[in-house]
Each structure stands twice: as structure tokens, then as C-alpha cells.
């Protein structure tokens, strides 16, 4: 079996298993980004999740060995579940609010949104060395003064 044929077969199988036709589902990180933007839309004076590059931050830190593997798996799985239960990415703000309100009625959904809030807040207030808090927008908007010295290496001492 050639690699191309294998991939094609796999794609067909997944669609069949899911019981759907060839409807293309959104990328999981796009779903996460859209949820983060709904959770932190920004205000006239406070930045949004995109302003602090919250999705880029989460993608980056979740690759580090210090990020709990089970948390990353849960975040990705939860995003797929949310998408499977709704068309979150395709609907407007009001419907997104209803979808999330309904999602957190289960303990699973509540844990998932809570975790996403947690890691998005990290992106607002982390040192920009981690890829979030772009241009210190989080610190500046919330009038926060970072502790000194700031990190010059990510995740402590790299050669520890």
C-alpha cells in the first residue's frame, strides 16, 4: 500500500466511523482559538485572547515536558467534543454563549472550560518569553508590574 493510498483510506474510514459524509470539521486549534476568543473577547480597555496570542501560547507551552500530557489530551478531546455536539465555530456570539452554557452543565464540560480559562489567563500574565502576553499587553492593560528579575530562560534552568 502506498503512503498516499493509506492516508486516503484512513480519511474515508474516519468519516464512515463518525457516521457523517465528507463534511470537513474545523481544525481543533481553530476551535480552541474561537472558544478562547469567546471567553476573552476584550473590552474597550482590556485586550482579547488574540491580542495576547493566547492560542500560540498554549500551543507552545503544551509541547514542553513540564505540561501535563493528560491536560493537553483533555483540551484537544474537549474541543472535538464541543465541535461534535454543536457548530460552535460557525454560529454567532449569542449562540456560542448558549452552547458553552449548555456545555458546562456537565462536569466534563465545566472542567474543560475551567482548564481553558486557566491556560488562557496564563497567556495574559506570563512573561512574554513564553509567547503569550504579546508586547506585554496583558501586564499593561491590567496595570501589572512583573517581579524582577524576569526570566531569561524558559521553564527554569534548562540544563538543570
Amino acid at each position: 500500500m502506498t503512503r498516499r493510498f493509506f492516508i486516503f483510506t484512513l480519511a474515508c474510514s474516519s468519516a464512515l466511523i463518525a457516521g457523517s459524509t465528507f463534511t470537513k470539521r474545523p481544525e481543533v486549534w481553530d476551535i480552541i482559538n474561537q472558544v478562547q476568543m469567546h471567553l476573552f473577547p476584550g473590552t474597550a480597555t482590556l485586550p482579547s485572547a488574540d491580542d495576547v496570542e493566547a492560542t500560540r501560547y498554549l500551543k507552545f507551552v503544551s509541547k514542553d515536558p513540564s505540561f501535563p500530557k493528560q491536560n493537553l489530551a483533555f483540551i484537544l478531546e474537549g474541543a472535538k467534543k464541543l465541535d461534535a455536539q454543536s457548530d460552535f465555530i460557525q454560529v454567532g456570539k449569542m449562540q456560542r454563549e448558549q452552547i458553552l452554557a449548555s456545555f458546562i452543565e456537565s462536569q466534563y464540560g465545566k472542567n474543560w472550560v475551567s482548564m481553558l480559562l486557566n491556560y488562557t489567563l496564563e497567556a495574559f500574565f506570563c512573561d512574554p518569553i513564553y509567547g503569550g502576553n504579546a508586547k506585554q499587553k496583558g501586564w499593561k492593560a491590567y496595570h501589572h508590574f512583573p517581579g524582577m528579575p524576569r526570566p531569561v530562560k524558559k521553564f527554569g534552568k534548562e540544563d538543570g
Binding site: 469567546h38 471567553l39 476573552f40 473577547p41 476584550g42 473590552t43 482590556l46 507551552v61 514542553d64 515536558p65 513540564s66 505540561f67 501535563p68 500530557k69 493528560q70 454563549e97 458553552l100 458546562i104 465545566k110 472550560v113 475551567s114 480559562l117 486557566n118 489567563l121 496564563e122 495574559f124 500574565f125 506570563c126 512573561d127 513564553y130 492593560a141 491590567y142 496595570h143 501589572h144 508590574f145 512583573p146 517581579g147 524582577m148 528579575p149 524576569r150 526570566p151 531569561v152 524558559k154 521553564f155 527554569g156 534552568k157 538543570g160
Partner: protein, 544 residues
């Protein structure tokens, strides 16, 4: 072959390494974690407060916590709960991360059974030594580790052999004026908290620069009296001390009543060993008991020093909790310029209650960590909030309020349902049984803490605080560990003799908080330091 091999490098290890290496003995320290210096530390909330950077990854190395939530004892691995019982696995141990609230124990704390009598369902005993025997070493810690403060005139302050602290108090936040005023009105004799933080430069250590990120962070100036900054760094200059970081000790090998070798796994995963004349274990209470229990031999089939089934028993934490109240930063004079200054106030008036031991209430601001503060704001009771509502709430939390906490410390009563064991079912990445920790809380823990909390709430109310909350819990703070290898005169009821040598093992000492049969109602570090200096003198005499 070296003279002394020390397992661990925190407050129980530092004084031994300092004193013995400077006395000309060859000392090796085996530390599980990495060697961070002042230059490596930063105020990085992600690294030091939100990830396991200086503690093991829980899926690789974990504990089993046995808790009773009302339906019997349930075992949960910490990689499932996220409730991490590791503390600062770096050279200097968790003393790098402490806030440095330093209090001596009171003379009556050494004789709780004699003074207050038996408590039902508890294993309270008197210490085999008195306050007078430890007092010179408390004073030694003030000088060598460096404690700043002001001798307090309080009825419950223990007697001092020196008139004053070697360093003046650190700078104080303006809220202290309001605290002092309220205390005076309430007829409370509030004391200034001694701190293991230098207020002035000293040799190789620089005075505190008031970063506002102290507790949970390593110190970038060396002002904090960690075992690393205050003891191990100067001891290295003797040329007699070798510190081996990333060395996880798996077993002590015993032959004919003596430990002959410590086996460890290095950073590359290779098994190595150190032979020494004398061994000292100071790996923090839970891991110290675990190492002994995992070090079985023909003479000690249940673990080293465990022929009386006492290793791991009577584990102690600190009972208590937190009472908090909120203030408008403007009304208490808070500005970015003074935000890092300390509160340095302790209520000690309730150290002894009627016919019962009480505790202290330690004032401090909520830690500055913005991620932790913002993350707490997402809750409205049990409900999650988000959107502009959450963002504005966070802004208000970070800018319009400042939270003053009173941390309550009262005695964790030793009893049969708080102990360390090992169970071969649960193993770490090295294949070794992990520590299984039963965390039962004696009813008196909560009863006393609640009394102190009520009094503290009244105090905060008199201060004009808003949103006064109290969180008193039967569950232990995982960073305040002691006991498990209590010292005593009777080998059938203790693990260590009064000199902190393991009964029946001629050359093995334990110098972390494990030796404590009762904990007092103050943070343990000063007492651990003092006792380790005492044992260092005993070991020095052995080598004469």
C-alpha cells in the same frame, strides 16, 4: 570513602554540611534535584508556581494519598489529583522557597504532655530534650543563617540568650500602622515577625530588594536564609564539601548494624554509590521515612530502623488555615513603590488557650502572582464566569483590592491515622515503592484552628476589612512536614535516640523535621535548623 554522606540538602542537611566540612571532614551531599544559584532564579510564575520544574513530574514519581472524605480511606495517586507533595527538589531544598517566618518553639512545646495532659486518640509525648538544650542553637541560627527582627516583649516569647537579633527588621508595608492601631485598641500585644531574610548586606549575600515575589520563589539576592545561600555555598569554600545534584538515593545498604553505602541513580540513569563512615538523612519527612522503609536488609526486614514499627508513624503537618480580608489599596497606603515590603506581624496572644495549646496568626499579603489571582476570579461560587464580566472582575481584583491574610498555625496532633508507609503495588519510574501517606486529621486540629479563626475574623473586622473569609481545613498543607521518625529515649516507641541517631544503627542520623514528636504551632524551619546544628556538634564530637 568519605567521612559523611548526607542525603538531601535542605534545612536539616545544611548545618551538618556547614559545620563538618569546616571542621575538616570530607562531606558529600546527594541532592535529588538540580543546583540552582541566585543567577538562575527569576520571578517566573509559570516556571516556579505553575509547573513541576523543581519537583518531579507526577506521572514519573508520585505519592499515594490516603484520605477519608466521609466514606472510609481512599487511596489516590497524586498524578490523578494533582495534589503535589514534593517540595523544592533543588540544592537547598524547600528552604529556597520559604517565606522565612521564623519563630522559636516555646519551652512548654517541649513538654506538651506534661503541661496539657493526654488527648483522646492522640500520641502526644514530651520531647527528650528541653528548650534550654536547643536555645544556644536557635541563637546560632540567628547569627549564621541570618535572622532579621526585633526582640519582642511578649508573655509567650521564649527566653533569649542574646539581647537582640543580629539584623534589624526588614522594611515594613504601611498597612502595619493600621494593624498596630487595631491591636492596641483590641488590647492585643502584636509582635514583629522575625524573618530569615537579610535586611542588610553580609559578605557574599545581598540584602533584600523587596521584589514582592518572595514565598514560593528562589531568592535572587541571597537575602533569604536558604540552606543553599546561607550554609552550603560558604561550606563549599572549605574544599571539603562535594554536592552531587540530580542524585536520587534509592537505598541505604546496612551491614552489621551500620550503613555502609548509599545507592543512588544519577542524571543519566546510571546506578552509583557512596561509601562513608557516617550517614545523615534529611530528605524531608515523607521521603526520609520512605527511604528507610525501602532500605530493607536481613537485620531490618521491615526497613532500616523499623524493627519497632515506628518508621513513618506520627507524621506531622501544620494545622490551621487562612483568614482573609480585603482592603482598598489607597486607604492603606499601598503603592507600587512599597508593594514588596513585608507585613511582619504575628498575633501570639492565643498561643495558649484555656487548658489547651493554641497557635499563632501570621499576617501577610496574598502572594502577588497575577495568574493565580486572575484564575480565582473565574469563579462565582460554584459557577464559572467569562467574557467582559470576568475581564473587568480581574482588573478590579488586581487594581482596586488588596487581600490581607492571616495564616493560622496550630499543632497538628500526632495520632494513629497520619503516617507514611510503602506499598509495592505503587512504584515510581525507578521501580521503587512510592510513599503512601495517610493524612487523617485529629479533631482537635480543626477545633483549635476554628477558635483562632473566629478571633482573627474579629480582628480583621476591627481593621475595617471587607469580604472577610475563613478557610479552615482538616487537610494538610503539603509544604509543612515533620515527624515520622520521632526521637525519644524508648526504642520501642521512637525511631531516633535523643541525639537523632537511629536506634540500632550505629552511624545513621536523621536531621530534617522527621525527629519532631510534636510540632509546636509555628513554622518548623528555625527548629529544624537549630536541631541540625545541635546534631552537628554531636557528630563533631564523635569524630574527635
Amino acid at each position: 570513602m568519605v567521612d559523611i554522606c548526607i542525603i538531601g540538602s535542605g534545612a536539616g542537611a545544611g548545618p551538618i554540611a556547614y559545620e563538618l566540612s569546616r571542621a575538616g571532614k570530607k562531606v558529600v551531599v546527594l541532592e535529588k534535584g538540580a543546583f540552582y544559584s541566585e543567577a538562575d532564579f527569576s520571578k517566573d510564575e509559570i516556571a516556579y508556581c505553575r509547573r513541576s520544574i523543581i519537583t518531579p513530574t507526577l506521572t514519573d514519581e508520585y505519592h499515594i494519598i490516603e484520605a477519608d472524605f466521609g466514606e472510609g480511606w481512599v487511596s489516590t495517586p497524586t498524578y490523578e489529583s494533582g495534589w503535589d507533595f514534593w517540595n523544592g527538589n533543588i540544592v537547598g531544598g524547600s528552604s529556597n522557597l520559604m517565606s522565612g517566618f521564623f519563630h522559636r518553639m516555646h519551652p512548654k512545646d517541649f513538654k506538651l504532655l506534661s503541661h496539657f495532659g493526654k488527648i483522646d486518640g492522640a500520641n502526644v509525648v514530651d520531647w527528650p530534650i528541653s528548650y534550654d538544650e536547643l536555645e544556644p542553637y536557635y541563637t546560632k541560627v540567628e547569627q549564621i543563617v541570618g535572622i532579621s527582627g526585633e526582640a519582642n516583649n511578649h508573655v509567650y516569647e521564649p527566653p533569649r540568650s542574646s539581647k537582640q537579633f543580629p539584623f534589624p527588621p526588614t522594611l515594613e508595608h504601611p498597612i502595619t500602622k493600621q494593624i498596630d492601631k487595631t491591636a492596641k485598641k483590641s488590647a492585643i500585644n502584636i509582635i514583629k515577625t522575625p524573618r530569615a531574610i537579610l535586611s542588610q548586606n553580609r559578605k557574599d549575600r545581598t540584602a533584600c530588594y523587596y521584589s514582592n515575589y518572595c514565598g514560593s520563589y528562589g531568592c535572587s539576592s541571597g537575602a533569604k536564609g536558604s540552606a543553599r545561600a546561607a550554609l552550603l555555598t560558604p561550606a563549599l569554600k572549605s574544599g571539603n564539601l562535594e554536592i552531587i545534584p540530580n542524585a536520587h538515593v534509592t537505598k541505604l545498604i546496612e551491614k552489621e548494624g551500620k550503613v555502609v553505602k548509599a545507592i543512588y541513580i544519577d542524571k543519566e540513569g546510571s546506578e552509583k554509590s557512596i561509601e562513608a563512615t557516617l550517614f545523615v538523612v534529611a530528605a524531608q519527612a515523607i521521603e526520609t521515612s520512605r527511604l528507610l522503609l525501602n532500605s530493607t536488609s536481613k537485620a531490618f526486614p521491615k526497613g532500616l530502623g523499623n524493627n519497632s514499627d515506628q518508621v513513618g508513624k506520627n507524621l506531622l503537618f501544620s494545622a490551621g488555615g487562612v483568614v482573609s480580608g480585603e482592603f482598598d489599596p489607597k486607604t492603606i497606603g499601598d503603592t507600587p513603590e512599597v508593594a514588596g515590603r513585608f507585613v511582619n506581624r504575628t498575633i501570639k496572644d492565643w498561643y495558649f488557650l484555656q487548658n489547651q495549646k493554641g497557635g499563632i496568626c501570621e499576617a501577610l499579603f496574598e502572594h502577588a502572582n497575577p495568574i493565580a489571582k486572575a484564575n480565582r476570579a473565574k469563579w462565582e461560587g460554584e459557577k464559572l464566569i467569562w467574557g467582559a464580566k470576568l475581564q473587568e472582575k480581574i482588573f478590579a481584583k488586581l487594581n482596586n483590592t488588596i487581600q490581607l491574610n492571616f495564616e493560622i498555625f496550630n499543632d497538628w496532633i500526632p495520632h494513629d491515622d497520619c503516617f507514611v508507609s510503602v506499598d509495592p503495588t505503587y512504584r515510581d519510574k525507578y521501580g521503587l515503592p512510592v510513599a503512601k501517606v495517610r493524612i487523617g486529621s485529629h479533631p482537635q486540629n480543626i477545633q483549635v484552628a476554628s477558635k483562632l479563626a473566629e478571633k482573627t475574623k474579629t480582628f480583621l473586622s476591627h481593621m475595617g476589612a471587607k469580604d472577610i473569609q475563613s478557610a479552615i481545613s482538616p487537610y494538610p498543607p503539603q509544604n509543612l512536614q515533620a515527624g515520622g521518625c520521632r526521637f525519644g529515649k524508648d526504642p520501642s516507641k521512637s525511631v531516633l535516640d535523643p541525639n537523632c541517631r537511629v536506634h540500632d544503627v550505629e552511624n545513621l542520623y536523621i536531621t530534617d523535621g522527621s525527629f519532631m514528636p510534636t510540632g509546636g504551632s509555628v513554622p518548623y524551619t528555625w527548629t529544624i535548623y537549630a536541631n541540625a546544628f545541635r546534631v552537628a556538634d554531636i557528630i563533631k564530637n564523635r569524630f574527635k
